[in-house]
């Protein structure tokens, strides 16, 4: 039974720089990189050395504690560098690409005749297993576990997020193939969640249960969707995958190769022409943003403004992201800012006038607009977390490192993305996403 769920809590932040639905090829990216830091908690074991020749789909590194989970190259070429940071932590494995991409052959498959183990093996070998993440914890799924169901959020309503209608439209056939393959992995259902604004892009997709979510962000995050459709209990596992990654999995089975092409939206107020780009996983930021960014002190974000990662323009697209956002940095002093009307700043509260202009698009910078304080204002997070959870109490349990309390208060059901708006609305400027991730890491450490 498909469900329609209406959520009243949440917040949409209207920003300048929404991408127009125009798809162009990105500039040529001569280097690509896979960043182990994109995968929380991962300890990578590198198997390549600078100078090694790789094809698209060749293994670059694997998970030290789960050697089956391999991370493969999105392109063919030569390993240029293995960049390390403090304590020799691997930051980037950089591949210098050749003009014509060569692919590892994983064999074309007749999906309908495949068994779960065949699908699993192909995904693991090709490195596309890493697309599958799990709740609890929002980390790469463990192939040994059996998921209760699989969730796909078919839309994204984070600030300036790409429109999946537009992205998937071109690839509906591969998307269906991907769904067919994925659905072998669970005895439960595959939930494809759409919003009331989603067009007809998914209307012919079969083998899934479609649920409609009506409401503001974060209704597009899987944590919220799971909480309303099939709440996660202790001991249960749900897997989830991004729509574009389903397309890549679909291609893997129909074409027999790891073809890491994806569409990325370049967004934000500091972009000249916000639009969509054809590119690949691990492409350099520069290849997408070049000649399209305004002058000034800007912040480059791989992902959206709420959950994205701060990157340099010489850095690379993060693994799961379909969006790059560029906004101005806010490192300036504002004279009596806290008391002035600030008509060009946005606030969820009525302490400013933004509630009078619900359709105005804002250019927001990275200034945190205040200083960090203890929790003072209550029931603020509750307004933007549409889940049956007490956010402040959960955060306090995380801060106190009280495993039992964290479990009781629902740590299994959340990840950073559900708390991203708490970061935004907090009067006390508390960094809730960071607290939640630390809490999750503690759970993983203590319970394994």
């Amino acid at each position: 039974m498909s469900k329609t769920i209406k959520l009243n809590k949440g917040l949409n932040i209207n920003l300048q720089g929404k991408p127009v639905e125009q798809l162009v090829d990105s500039g040529i990216s001569t280097t690509y990189a896979i960043k182990p830091t994109d995968f929380p908690g991962l300890i990578p074991k590198i198997v390549v050395k600078p100078g090694f020749e790789v094809k698209a789909g060749s293994v670059l590194f694997f998970d030290k504690y789960n050697p089956e989970i391999k991370f493969t190259s999105p392109v063919s070429g030569k390993i240029k560098e293995i960049e390390r940071g403090e304590r020799r932590k691997v930051l980037r494995v950089i591949i210098e690409t050749t003009s014509e991409i060569q692919y590892e052959d994983f064999g074309k498959k007749e999906i309908n005749s495949l068994k779960a183990d065949d699908v699993k093996k192909t995904l693991l070998d090709s490195g596309t297993w890493t697309f599958i993440r799990k709740r609890p914890y929002a980390i790469i799924a463990n192939p040994e576990e059996k998921p209760k169901s699989i969730f796909i959020s078919g839309f994204d309503n984070a600030p300036l997020a790409p429109n999946y209608d537009f992205i998937i439209k071109e690839n509906a056939k591969e998307f269906q193939a991907g769904i067919d393959a994925i659905s072998k992995l669970t005895d439960g259902k595959v939930h494809l969640n759409i919003s009331d604004k989603t067009g007809s892009v998914y209307s012919n997709i079969t083998g899934v249960e479609k649920n409609t979510f009506i409401g503001k962000h974060p209704s597009s995050t899987v944590g919220v969707q799971i909480n309303h459709i099939a709440p996660l209990n202790k001991g249960e596992v749900i897997w989830y995958i991004n729509p574009q990654d389903i397309v890549i999995i679909g291609r893997l089975f129909t074409e027999g190769k790891y073809d890491a092409r994806k569409i990325v939206a370049l967004t934000g107020s500091e972009v000249n022409e916000a639009k969509y780009y054809n590119t690949r996983i691990g492409a350099s930021i520069n290849s997408i943003t070049e000649n399209n960014v305004k002058e000034g002190n800007n912040r480059y974000i791989s992902g959206n403004v709420l959950t994205g990662t701060k990157v340099d323009k010489n850095d690379y697209l993060s693994f799961y992201d379909s969006q790059i956002t560029i906004i101005p940095e806010g490192d300036y002093y504002e004279f009596f800012g806290w008391i002035s009307p600030r008509l060009n700043k946005f606030s969820m509260s009525r302490l400013y006038f933004s509630w009078l202009m619900p359709n105005k698009k804002y250019t927001l910078d990275t200034n945190i607009n205040g200083g960090e304080r203890a929790f003072v204002v209550s029931e603020q997070y509750e307004k933007v977390v549409p889940m049956d959870i007490y956010p402040v109490e959960l955060l306090k349990a995380c801060l106190a490192e009280d495993i039992d309390k964290m479990e009781q208060l629902g740590i299994y059901e959340v990840a950073e993305e559900e708390f991203a708006l708490c970061d935004f609305v907090c009067t006390s400027k508390i960094e809730t996403q960071d607290i939640i991730r630390k809490g999750i890491n503690l759970m993983i450490k203590e319970l394994s």
């Binding site: 932040i13 920003l15 600030p159 709440p231 209990n233 202790k234 001991g235 249960e236 403004v305 709420l306 994205g308 956002t325 906004i327 806010g330 490192d331 300036y332 002093y333 504002e334 004279f335 009596f336 800012g337 806290w338 700043k345 606030s347 969820m348 509260s349 009525r350 302490l351 400013y352 927001l364 910078d365 990275t366 200034n367 945190i368 607009n369 205040g370 200083g371 960090e372 304080r373 203890a374 929790f375 003072v376 204002v377 209550s378 029931e379 007490y390 402040v392 109490e393 009781q408 208060l409 950073e416 970061d423 935004f424 609305v425 907090c426 009067t427 006390s428 960094e431 996403q433 960071d434």
Partner: protein, 397 residues
Amino acid sequence: MKALRKLLDNIKPHVEKGGKFHYLYSGFDAVETLFFVPNTVAKKGAHIRDAIDLKRTMFIVVIALIPALLFGMWNIGHQHFLSIGETETFMGTFLFGLLKMLPLIIVSYGVGLGLEILFAQNRGHEVNEGFFVSGMLIPLIVPIDTPLWMVGIAVAFAVIIGKEVFGGTGMNIWNPALLARAFLFFAYPSDMSGDKVWVEGMSHLDKVADGFSGATPLAVMAAEAGDKVSTFANGIGNWSVIDLVIGSYPGSIGETSVIAIGIGALILLFTGIASWKVMFSVFAGGLGMGLLFNVVAPESNIFMQMPAYYHLLIGGFAFGAVFMATDPVSAAQTSKGKYIYGFLIGVIAVLIRVVNPAYPEGMMLSILLLNTFAPLIDFYVIQGNIKKRLKRVKVTA
């Protein structure tokens, strides 16, 4: 503005860590952030942040207090001139009150902010804005004749014992302003109760004007013998219901006018700073308890017979409900908890007023009591959520 920024930039290296005057850092930081929103950018988490901050939030509360403050100033003069049987122009009345009120405000802010800065420096924290509000609340809830040194001690008690020992704003159990009031009430009862302390200068007067008593409506009610108040149709004692709403009767400085407090309440509710859940349920609780007393009142007990809505008009009920009970730190934090918390404040305030002859005003004690129990209320509300989660496991298992 540029010159000021330059000046601050020049001073900054001297007070930062390693600088010669580092012990002045918190004070410097307080001044700097007062003039300039700092240039801090988001490092972790969301890259953009809401424009709201604690300074603006607290400042709006102070603005919401201004109607009560202005009315209080006028009423100081008004009551004073009534007591000596003179008449004075509106401006003269107001200015009289202003001059009497200013020292209280200055002492309250001076002592409180000084201590806050000391503690912040000692702990390496930024100075918290919480005292913005407490520092204004305290002068508004004391009798006008309270000696300044008492106010100073009470503020120090509230800041140190009420707040800083727990870790500062956000960590305190009780509302600091009410704690200051409670401290005064129990430490110097003779200066905090009776019929003379509520009117400026009355305790030194040889002779008061005919028919003027200086008692508050609550004191009148608590002291009433059966025959004096035969009917409530016209209000209490010499005050009509209209007087009670306007607030032109003796009492703590800011607590008397329901209209002025109402304006503040509208500001707080409109901006969403105060919880309407708490505010609404305090009034509901008080009214409910008053009605209950009306029903069960024996004929001899005049106080119980008093129309229930009078309770909401007299004493500190409205002020407490709007400005004290809604303090987000000491109130219940959960949505359901707020209803329970507020309702019980209303109930117990009226209960103490009517049943306990020793304390004519129950609002202060009622809020402090429920401050104490707010964590317990939250505990049970959250326990409900936890049980629901556990039950889900059993159903599916």
